[in-house]
């Protein structure tokens, strides 16, 4: 009998498959993972502390730099929290514009998630480039509304920074008409692809009760079959006016998490289409004092970001700065179960599992 010893491999923080500066200390028995420890903090910038010394308006661009693949969603959650704290009503047109950009952002973010995931499976950059083709169109739309392509800083306390230019709606119409065809194309290429199925079906199964117990959210929770989407469960903004479905997985494996994202893109297109049709005329920004001093009090506002429940907890104290600024980061909390999901699988599967959780390190570490 040959005596074997477990071997420890340090994976990251500089590694393309960790999607950022994320490190895993993985212990193997032969090829099989017996232990895994995630190590965070390589991108910790102390944003929560930093924002305590900024005014409420100055904080908006910092929220862009949390989950930079979904800056619009971060803007959205933060301004919503401030509006709730200060009791500000926002114009109807701004509500619709927010929903339109937030859903476009969900599509753009899921495209990266799915493309990156397929990259991790070894489909090296071919599907990724397909996804980038469509994401580019969304970025063009965002550039029209705010001049930026990654860190938008589009939303303001009381509305949005600019009204849309005249060329926006025709371009958006073209996009929502084309997008379902592109999603069909991904399905054709990938959903029945034998390698994708072999690599992801049954891998990293997350049971529903464990997902709930570990506070998983977003596609990770829904992939496990839990029909929980804040847009429906606790509607914010004007989400109660739209018809859409909440796709859920059956098994909670890596494939289901991928599948849920593809289906959510279809639903987002549906929401954008309805919001476009109902878009009212009018102001896009309420009158808000230049230096906002929200009253004493606290507020927790949450939205369904592409990665899950994104919450902002603010404590106001009559001053222009928040007394406490806290982000409930879905990417971090979704990693709670990474060790459980990976044990018993091989290294290549761990990469697929990590890819299916879809983390953004700027949000994990803040």
């Amino acid at each position: 009998m040959l005596k074997t010893e477990p071997i420890m491999i340090n994976f990251g923080p500089q590694h393309p498959s960790t999607h950022g500066v994320f490190r895993m200390r993985v212990t193997f028995d032969g090829e099989v993972i017996v232990d895994l420890e995630p190590i965070f903090g390589y991108l910790h910038r102390g944003i929560e502390k930093l924002c305590e010394s900024k005014t409420y308006t100055q904080i908006i661009p910092y929220t862009d730099r949390l989950d930079y693949l979904a800056s619009m969603s971060n803007n959205f959650a933060y301004v919503m929290a401030v509006e709730k704290l200060a009791g500000i009503e926002i114009p109807e047109r701004a509500q619709y514009l927010r929903v339109i950009v937030a859903e476009l952002q969900r599509i753009a973010s899921h495209l990266i998630a799915v493309g990156g995931f397929l990259n991790d499976l070894g489909a090296f950059f071919t599907p990724f480039m397909y996804m980038f083709r469509e994401r580019e169109k969304i970025l063009d739309l965002f550039e029209m509304v705010c001049g930026q392509r990654l860190t938008y800083n589009y939303m303001r306390i009381g509305g949005v920074s600019h009204d849309i230019p005249p060329e926006f709606l025709p371009a958006l119409k073209r996009f929502v008409d084309e997008m379902p065809g592109y999603i069909d194309e991904y399905d054709q290429l990938l959903a029945e692809n034998e390698i994708v199925l072999a690599r992801s079906k049954g891998v990293g199964v997350l049971p529903a009760d464990l997902a709930i117990n570990a506070s998983a959210s977003g596609p990770v929770l829904r992939g496990s079959g839990v029909r929980w989407d804040i847009r429906r469960a606790d509607p914010y903004s004007i989400y109660d006016r739209f018809e859409f479905e909440i796709p859920v997985g059956k098994m909670g494996d890596t494939y289901d998490r991928y599948w849920v994202r593809i289906q959510e893109m279809r639903q987002s297109v549906r929401i954008v289409r309805q919001a476009m049709a109902e878009l009212p005329q009018g102001e896009v920004r309420a009158k808000v004092p230049a230096t906002l001093r929200p009253p004493q009090g606290e507020v927790y506002a949450r939205i369904e970001s592409p990665r899950g429940e994104l919450g902002f907890y603010l404590v106001g104290d009559d001053s222009p700065h928040p007394y406490r600024f806290k982000v409930r980061a879905p990417s971090l909390i979704n990693l709670t179960l990474l060790r459980d999901l990976c044990i018993g699988w091989k290294l290549a599967d761990a990469i697929a599992i990590l890819g299916s959780i879809d983390i953004v390190l700027a949000e994990v570490d803040r």
Binding site: E48, A214, G311, Y313, I333
Partner: protein
């Protein structure tokens, strides 16, 4: 819509089983003593189906730390906000809720790292974002700003 359960009613329900656990309540939250936190959390989880611990937040108010737990029931779509206060400043310690909700794991480590509140019974309580030799806890209000 997620229905926030009435803190007054929940406080009464807790009081029937755990007298003296609830110290106060207002229109949005229930305050419990730090000694009773674990028992109250278990009671809420088991009797009110609060199966989802959405978020843990710590706030430094100088004379005490306030810990805020946002609990949600995915099954019935209702929510409770649980708060507790820790008056100790040198070595504040609270019971860990990881054995009830795994979701508390990384969040309690974050509170420990940045606010310096310890959690007894946590399986792996160490700094999460900062390195182990780091002095101080940056989110405390007396931590010097650069």
């Amino acid at each position: 819509m997620t229905t926030p359960l009435s803190p007054a009613q929940i406080a009464r329900q807790i009081g029937e089983v755990l007298p003296e656990a609830v110290t106060d309540f207002n229109e949005s939250a229930i305050f419990v003593s730090s000694e009773a936190l674990f028992e109250v959390a278990r009671f809420l989880k088991e009797n009110l189906d609060l199966d989802y611990l959405a978020s843990i937040t710590a706030v430094d108010f100088f004379e005490h730390f306030e810990l805020i737990y946002h609990l949600t029931s995915i099954k019935y779509n209702h929510s409770v906000v649980l708060k507790t206060r820790c008056y100790e400043r040198e070595n504040p310690t609270l019971p860990s809720l990881v054995s009830l909700w795994r979701g508390a794991d990384l969040q309690e480590r974050e509170v420990y790292d940045l606010m310096g509140v310890s959690f007894s019974g946590h399986p792996n309580l160490k700094r999460i974002f900062l390195w182990s030799g780091f002095k101080g806890h940056p989110l405390r209000k007396d931590y010097p700003n650069a």
